[in-house]
């Protein structure tokens, strides 16, 4: 089975899984875990979007 994902889909999936692991392992209480997981996810995704815009500007 072969899957071909776009750059953005790959980055989103990567962000979800990494954020889940970071959230669970780096915080002690369930509430903190959820908050930290969401924070990591938003940082990952924000970084991807920001990097995308920077590359678009460089290309222009």
């Amino acid at each position: 089975m072969t899957i071909t994902l776009s750059h953005f889909t790959s980055a989103v999936l990567f962000s979800i899984f990494a954020s889940v692991v970071f959230g669970i392992t780096q915080r002690n209480t369930p509430q903190e875990m959820v908050r930290y997981g969401l924070y990591c996810f938003s940082m990952f995704l924000g970084g991807v979007i920001l990097a995308g815009w920077v590359m678009w500007l460089i290309r222009r």
Partner: protein, 141 residues
Amino acid sequence: MANPSPVKTKQSEQDAAGPVSTMSVLAPAIGWLIPGAGHLIQKRWGRGVLLMLSIFTMFFLGLAMQGRVYKPNGGDILDMLGFVGNIGAGGLYIVTRAMDWGHGAISHATADYGTKFLIVAGLLNFITVADAYHIAIGKKP
């Protein structure tokens, strides 16, 4: 009085390292072999299942994207680091090598993402193993 308490020093060193129990050895070992299982055997069901799902899915997505699995090697430094990342996935890596999967496809543009997914799945499992150990020694609830 020259050396007042060598035993105390040893004791404090042991305290700093944490108590050695069967679980503190078993949980990381099981957690390495089966990602998330180190939490499950300590009855952290929710965390264990989430970690297992995340790492397994990431690893299998990497394989499905035609990612490359590194073999033990003494060549290029990046290849060696890739192997270190891959070996973190424990049982998943062993099964993949045994089944002769993960050759990587240069023709696919996303195959490189697959390789990264495989490496990161292993690295995330290293963090999971450390977390299972911290739970086992009582450092984390």
